[in-house]
């Protein structure tokens, strides 16, 4: 276990060193996150005023805050790693991962990181702070404990989709698509029309990964929700492990 933690720390430090070279880009990401957050908040209030969302504004900010954190996590960690994974497949350098003594999926999940999502993470924390009146103390602790497993569920789900990288050249747009799908959880899934609700709950785990931590924090869901999330992590991990072994058979290295 200590070995895994050391690998995680080393790859985070290496990624930070690479990305701090582009400071103007970080400014642009900051501007983008500000504009997008302003848009999300304005849209939230417009939806509440139009009666489309049956929520108090404070509760809406909690949903939005958790979703911003998920979006920031996708931009910081999920997107860069999925792209790095698909690059390894088409360059034929996946061996460098497969031959190491740790689990290849773990190594692929912690290859790199980017600071571009940091502004979204900050925005998420600020939105949660603004909506704090809707939170109870005990529920808030439960909600923050749930964010970790919720993000893991989303990450493993996205990685499952990215296994398509074994058969297709690029996954950039797939990453866009998955990030956008999870962003749909910025509003409670139950506010959507029935087919969308089913899709966002059972086909893509948006409800579990984005709504559930917010609902735990708002006291709408009991502690069982937290157990459910960890069960989700276990199921998605087993699924990822199996499907990765299956898909890696399609990998033919640099000569294939």
């Amino acid at each position: 276990m200590g070995g895994y933690l050391r690998v995680l720390a080393r790859s985070a430090a290496a990624a930070a060193a690479v990305w701090t070279a582009y400071r103007a880009d970080f400014l642009a990401a900051l501007l983008g996150a500000l504009v997008e957050t302003a848009g999300r908040v304005a849209a939230l209030f417009a939806l509440v005023r139009a009666g489309v969302l049956d929520l108090a504004p404070d509760e809406g900010l909690v949903y939005l805050g958790v979703a911003s954190i998920a979006i920031g996590f996708f931009r910081c960690v999920v997107g860069p790693n999925l792209v790095a994974f698909s690059e390894r497949v088409w360059e034929g350098s996946l061996e460098f991962v497969l031959l190491r003594p740790k689990h290849p999926v773990f190594l692929l999940l912690v290859q790199t990181a980017s600071p571009w999502g940091l502004p979204d993470l900050l925005a998420g924390a600020a939105l949660l702070g603004l909506g704090h009146r809707a939170l109870g103390a005990q529920a808030a602790v439960l909600g923050s404990l749930a964010i970790g497993p919720a993000l893991l569920v989303a990450y493993l789900f996205a990685f499952l989709l990215a296994l398509v990288g074994f058969f297709s050249v690029h996954v950039h747009n797939l990453v866009h698509l998955v990030t956008g799908l999870f962003a749909a959880g910025q509003y409670p899934v139950r506010a959507y029309a029935l087919p969308v609700r089913v899709f966002l709950t059972f086909v893509v785990p948006v409800y579990g990964a984005v709504n559930l931590p917010a609902e735990l924090a708002l006291g709408r869901v009991g502690p069982a929700g937290l157990l459910g999330l960890w069960a989700g992590v276990a199921v998605f991990w087993l699924l990822t492990d199996r499907l990765f072994r299956l898909a890696v058979r399609a990998y033919a290295s640099a000569s294939g």
Binding site: Y22, A24, D25, L27, A28, A29, L31, G32, A33, V35, E36, A38, G39, R40, A42, A43, A46, L47, R49, A50, G51, V52, L53, D54, S168, V169, H170, H172, N173, L174, H176, L177, G180, L181, A183, A184, Y187, A191, Y192, A193, P195, V196, R197, L200
Partner: protein
Amino acid sequence: MTRRFLLGKFSVLVGTFLAQNLAYRGELFFWVLAQSLPLIFLGLWVEAGPRPGLDYARYFFFAWLAGLFRPTGVADYLGYEIRTGRLSPLLLRPFSPVLDHLADQLSLLLVYLVLGLPVAGVLGALFPGILAGLEPARLIGYAGFLALGFAFHFALGWLLGALAFFLERSEGFLEAYYGALFFFGGLAIPLDAFSPGLRRFLAWTPLPYAVYHPAALAAGWPGARGPLPLVLWTLGVAALAGWVWRRGLLRYRAAGG
């Protein structure tokens, strides 16, 4: 150089880029799907919005289509060509690289429209009659808006791409613009839900004319405005892009300069 010569070359360029872009059709399909995500928000309005569901389905359909008429790759590709020196061979040819990018984006648009058919089909199946009873005059105005939006975003992409002559990277600012367009342009939410003050402010920006006004016009909603501000924005941005491009070329020393 006669006009016929140019048109002949140009159609060859479009054909070439079409073949190139079709090679990535799987990847581009994911792109079209990612562009279709705002349609999820239609599920909110159909469930509890004050208008009939079909009104919202029409609005979101036309907003989605207007979003596809947005050349998104120009700034990225041009910046990449400038930084890596790949621009040099393009400059040796007897026509401007603008035509390369225009041909590329037009062929991409064709691919998007074909790949978007399944999405339109799903909408049509969920909302029968979505295209019935539309006014032809409004649809012609909508088409004009689309052409203008394409021109504006092409010029904007050219401006930000050409900034690569002077800056290390500039594409991040385009991302910020697209973030604004998503909520304040009308892709994710019809703008008439916003407060009047915010809408008066937005009327000065190009954002609502790229998506909201054309979609509201085609869907038959009241309150759609004419495109004059976007015409002015397009002219201004295009003039600025041309100026930055010419100034940049003077500094350009290709790779190794």
